[in-house]
Symmetry: C2
DNA sequence: CTACGTGCAAAAAGTTTGCAATCGC
DNA sequence: GCGATTGCAAACTTTTTGCACGTAG
């Protein structure tokens, strides 16, 4: 269960690091293929799954679409997401809401939370 | 493109109405089969998709899992979700956070938001 | 009666797995 | 050299689609 450094893994992590926003497996695959031409889709799936299990990347869900992933150290810097329903991209937004404890029903334990704003990004809004 | 009232559609909507929490397509299928024995899985998919397009039900996403659905009139009564990572169920919780506008980057338009608390429900927490 | 909605089977899309060849260490 | 990792193809799973029949209006 050693961890071996390979061109493919480096490329995948680099893609996620450079993106600055959550990406789908397909997006990662396309982007990584630019660096490592013959890379296989299964390798991307395997690597992403491994990174997710190790907690190095976090999954972001959008209804009706496959999950997207982003580096955990980004996720650790607490932030949230903005889903543009026009161009369908997800952006990271800084800041966090507080006072969530008051929403919690008694007996429930709060471990974390995920907030997604929905709307149109600066590029897609009619502004 | 008329809308015809059928036994199957009634059963599916009844299941969602009675559940009180977001359900997956499979869950709806199983529950609806109790009322309409020979119901087909495709019918459930088709009906749910149609209801979603008409805005009568809302999709709730959980990373790594298929979407779950709940009646929109419930979603309209603004609320949020709690995902128990132990029993893997999603609960509705009342109340809503405010002040989201201040999180919004300039140029972005806010249409809605989705907040999911993550943790252990009263049944699963060690309490 | 007309044509929308259903059930079944086949197809498509998305993800995982088996295996021989490769490459890091 | 040894064994983890890869790429390809096949297996699976989940969701969508084609079609003939049943049925609501």
């Amino acid at each position: 269960m050693e961890s071996r450094r390979t061109r493919q893994q480096d490329a995948i992590e680099a893609v996620l690091a450079d993106a600055g926003r959550p990406m789908s497996v397909q997006e990662v695959f396309s982007a990584a293929a630019a660096t490592v031409p013959g890379i296989g889709l299964s390798t991307v799936y395997r690597t992403i799954r491994k990174l997710a299990e190790q907690g190095e990347i976090a999954a972001v869900a959008v209804p009706g679409q496959p999950d997207r992933y982003e580096l955990a150290h980004v996720a650790a810097t607490h932030h949230h997401h903005f889903h543009c329903t026009a161009c369908d991209r997800v952006f990271d937004i800084r800041g966090c809401v507080g006072g969530l404890d008051r929403l919690l029903p008694s007996g429930f334990e709060l471990h974390g939370h995920e907030l997604t704003l929905v709307g149109a990004c600066d590029h897609c809004s009619g502004t």
